[in-house]
């Protein structure tokens, strides 16, 4: 493509040869993110090392009318970083410097390529950590977390990325560098930050991020409870919430997910359990002790046949290992699988799980369930064998029906993985045309030319055009000699 080769030479001149990749073989490295069945080889890759690099690349895209997509570690599960064949992929993973750990001010300032867990490691010496903890936290980047508003196991108590990001330096889709928010709260003006976090790369690219650091808790107690079935485990969760306890995490796995985790990491979960709960409490020792006694009692009352309490960090890690490896572990019991991510009101859990079991029974498609039970965020793993004719389609169908179930119960089509390329088609099931149009007013304000990660989130892009009722100067088409106004 002529446009891209011109762009490549411009970027080599502006950024340096080593930062621009246009070799077809090398480009293939970047053809997908964590959602590997969507593949597009990018037209061009830029390896950004600085804010100036990102701004230069975005400005060059603007001048050429070429779309751009930002990519962090490429661990996203909705195809948010799926490249554009005729566009530039701006890879942020080399911007990985932790610029500041401000313990006294409870803040860290990092580049977007910094790995989530590295922030916690850097803050640990001062007794602090970074709370949002996606299961991929050993590899995922803060920039990706900002794009996706990533969650994790501890969101119920601590909130999501959006509650922990206080500022960004940001390259808007025109290539302007803007500071939004910072170490102090409540910057005057619209809460652009709240809109940018979770906008999946469609409003621009964060090039520096200020995050809140959270005091490491004095005490952590982790419990593994085995139940006969998911109904009993669900009852335990309801009872815990009803007792006014907000655990740091409540995770549930069903029999099939337990089986997979055992195969993969030998986590030694209770023998014969139809469901396990991982419940973690953290905070001041005096609070945790009081509440932990309640939690154990409530699990017993709900019918737990085995309760295990982690005696130390090593045992805690073992309990979590089964849960955190669950997605990958499913690969042990199925050649292929779809990771679904839907949300329901937590109280609908038993009903929805039964409906998922029915779907599975009717279709013959196996579904393993792993979820954040505390906030109703389901992760059904829909198993299939791509070598079998029609299996992928059947799995896809069940996966879609699970989302329908979530919406029927007043939930959401995604709790943490994002809409991306994968679920844009489901957005009209959750939102009306007017809802989507209103969201896209924001899109048009930031990105009137639709160059920032186009084709993601929204099934049909709004044509931004002229702002109605506002005519500043001549119409661009008139200026360009392409039209006449009468």
């Amino acid at each position: 493509m002529a446009g891209l080769s011109e762009l490549a030479s411009r970027l080599r001149t502006e950024l340096g040869t080593e930062k621009v990749i246009d070799d077809r073989q090398e480009l293939r490295t970047y053809e997908c993110d964590g959602l590997a069945h969507y593949k597009v080889v990018p037209g061009l890759v830029v390896l950004a090392r600085s804010t100036a690099d990102v701004a230069a690349a975005v400005r060059a895209c603007n001048d050429a009318g070429v779309p751009f997509v930002a990519r962090g570690s490429g661990t996203g599960l909705s195809g948010g970083a799926l490249p554009h064949a005729d566009g530039i992929l701006i890879v942020m993973s080399q911007m990985r410097e932790i610029l500041e750990i401000d313990r006294d001010g409870q803040r860290a300032v990092v580049e977007p390529g910094v790995i989530n867990l590295q922030v916690t490691r850097a803050a640990a010496a001062g007794g602090y950590y970074y709370a949002p903890d996606p299961s991929s936290q050993q590899v995922c980047s803060i920039g990706g977390n900002v794009a996706e508003n990533s969650g994790g196991a501890h969101c119920l108590k601590y909130g999501f990325t959006t509650n922990h990001v206080l500022g960004v330096e940001f390259v808007d889709p025109s290539g302007n560098v803007i500071e939004i928010g910072g170490k102090a709260p409540d910057s005057p003006g619209y809460d652009l930050l709240g809109t940018i976090v979770g906008s999946e790369g469609t409003l621009g690219i964060a090039t520096r991020v200020t995050v809140k650091l959270t005091r490491a808790p004095e005490s952590v107690e982790t419990l593994l409870a085995g139940f006969d079935d998911t109904d009993a485990a669900g009852q335990a969760v309801s009872a815990i919430i009803a007792a006014g306890v907000i655990p740091a995490a409540v995770e549930m796995m069903d029999a099939l997910a337990i089986e997979a985790a055992e195969e993969a990491v030998h986590c030694g979960y209770p023998e014969g359990a139809g469901a396990v709960l991982v419940v973690e409490l953290d905070g001041p020792a005096s609070e945790v002790d009081a509440q932990f006694a309640d939690v154990k009692r409530l699990c017993d009352q709900a019918g737990a046949f085995e309760l295990r309490v982690a005696a130390d960090d090593a045992e805690r890690a073992l309990i979590w290992r089964g849960r955190k490896s669950a997605f990958a572990a499913v690969g042990r019991i199925s050649p292929d699988y779809i990771v679904q991510d839907g949300v329901i009101p937590r109280t609908a859990l038993p009903e929805v799980l039964r409906a998922i079991a029915d779907l599975s029974g009717q279709s013959g498609v196996r579904v393993a369930n792993v979820f954040h039970a505390g906030d109703g965020n389901l992760h059904p793993l829909v198993l299939f064998d791509d070598a079998v004719d029609g299996a992928a389609e059947a799995a896809e169908k069940v996966s879609g029906q699970i989302l329908d179930l979530c919406l029927q119960h007043g939930g959401s089509i995604t709790g943490e993985h994002g809409v991306g390329a994968d679920k844009a088609k489901h957005m009209p099931d959750m939102f009306t045309a007017d809802d989507l149009d209103t969201m896209q007013l924001v899109r048009c304000a930031f990105d009137p030319n639709g160059l920032s990660n186009p084709g993601k989130v929204f099934p049909t892009p709004r044509l931004c055009g002229e702002v109605p009722g506002r005519h500043r100067g001549a119409h661009p088409l008139v200026e360009a000699g392409l039209a006449e106004q009468f």
Binding site: D102, D104, G105, Q106, R107, G127, E148, G151, C155, T162, N163, G182, K183, A184, P185, D186, S187, P188, G189, Y190, D191, L192, G194, T195, G198, E218, S238, A242, G244, G283, P284, S286, E287, D289, A290, P345, D375, G376, S412, I413, T414, G415, H417, G418, V419, K423, M427, M430, F431, D434, D435, D437, T438, M439, V442, A445, F446, V467, P468, G469
Partner: protein
């Protein structure tokens, strides 16, 4: 004129009238008042306003209508008083959906019956859900629970053109689409009229205690707040009050949790706070804004609290109060000092990375100094405003940079 009134009456089932003397926003009198009783009626009102080119301001309890800059134009006040229903309280899901006109107090009473709360303080007595959202005003408890923007899960919004849109949802975890709930939070009604909002709730803790201490100066106050931040007793809120310019500072800490936990943590906090700290009743000033002609909100990074207090002391005689644990303080100054005070603090604010916003002031002060001060990202904000409200009908001029 009567055509407009007729249209507003039709839109609201007769709940529209010619404005009276009290129907004023930011000192600007309105011509009409309309009180929709539903989202549909609100949409019809805004469609009428769009058709007639009426400038609109929304009014809840009217407690903060003079906050922000006075509107450039005003024709119609949309009174949300009839939108007073709590639509759904899903206690098991820790979620509530309430109409914008519900007073926080009423909402709190209803939620308390189920042992739950919306963890936002009623900073200004009488505040409605809508007024809280429009100003984004959060009180002491934001330190642990988050600010209003962190607790809102979804909104129903009527746009300037009368189109109704929902964003977010009614589950606590949801990343589908743009988070417009946060965008309209603190937007002073300039992007649309919120008719309903969904919030995440928290259980009401069984026990609570206050610990207070009086320290002599800004440096000691900073040190005391730091000890509260880095301890292990997880305060719900850390507040300070300095009623006399340059005088002693009272630090007050709220601890909440289980009976046993609060007892233990209170003892720890008393010890850590030192300076003659003691457990006691809620201080009389807790969670209230300092009274005075001119109210200024100043924010700081958490390491800047001491420097900020010194900066205030240097700028003009002022009473200071606020959420030291978050970096948000409110200063009250006399009108003659206000402009100089604001400008001096704005000069110094970059050194503590904060902002200085004049929330309320008499007209003569507003004409001397801009209420909002410098705004990062203003150009993008204007673009957002232009898309949502191209004819600038929603509270025009009330917000930053003349938005």
């Amino acid at each position: 004129m009567t055509d407009v009134l007729d249209a507003l009456q039709r839109a609201t089932g007769g709940h529209a009238a010619v404005a009276g003397e009290a129907d004023v926003a930011g000192g600007v009198p309105a011509k009409w008042v309309a009180a929709p009783g539903s989202t549909e009626e609100a949409a019809a009102v805004l469609r009428t306003a769009a058709a007639e080119g009426l400038a609109v301001a929304a009014r809840g309890a009217g407690t903060k209508l003079d906050w922000g800059t006075p509107p450039r134009r005003l024709d119609l006040i949309v009174d949300i008083g009839r939108l007073d229903r709590v639509i759904e309280h899903a206690a098991g899901d820790l979620v509530v959906i309430a109409q914008a006109g519900v007073p926080l107090r009423t909402l709190g009473e209803q939620l308390a019956e189920a042992g739950q709360r919306l963890a936002v303080d009623e900073v200004v007595p009488g505040t409605t859900v809508g007024g809280m959202l429009a100003t984004g005003l959060s009180g002491p408890r934001r330190m642990l629970a988050g600010a209003v923007r962190d607790l809102v899960l979804g909104v129903t919004l009527v746009r300037a053109d009368g189109v109704v849109a929902k964003a977010g949802g009614k589950v606590v975890k949801n990343v589908a689409g743009y988070d417009l709930s946060k965008l309209v939070c603190g937007a002073y009604g300039t992007l649309g009229l919120v008719t309903e909002a969904n919030f995440r709730l928290h259980p009401i803790p069984p026990a609570a205690a206050y610990v207070t201490a009086r320290v002599p100066d800004a440096a000691a106050a900073y040190a005391a707040v730091q000890r509260m931040l880095h301890g292990q007793f997880v305060p719900t809120a850390v507040e300070l009050d300095r009623p006399e310019p340059g005088g002693p500072v009272e630090i007050a800490v709220l601890l909440e949790g289980t009976e046993a936990g609060v007892t233990a943590r209170t003892a720890q906090a008393v010890e850590a706070l030192g300076d003659g700290a003691a457990e006691g009743p809620q201080p009389g000033w807790w969670g209230a804004l300092p009274a005075g002609d001119v109210l200024v909100k100043v924010t700081t990074e958490l390491t800047g609290t001491g420097r900020l207090l010194d900066g205030i002391e240097k700028a003009a005689p002022a009473a200071v109060r606020g959420s030291a644990g978050v970096g948000v303080l409110y200063a009250s100054v006399a009108a003659p000092d206000a402009a100089g005070f604001v400008l001096a603090l704005r000069d110094a604010a970059p050194s503590w990375q904060g902002s200085v916003v004049m929330l309320t002031a008499p007209p003569e002060v507003r004409s001397e100094v801009d209420s909002w001060g410098p705004v990062a990202g203003l150009e993008l904000m204007r673009k957002v405003k232009d898309r949502f409200d191209p004819d600038a009908l929603l509270a025009p001029g009330r917000f930053v940079g003349g938005i």
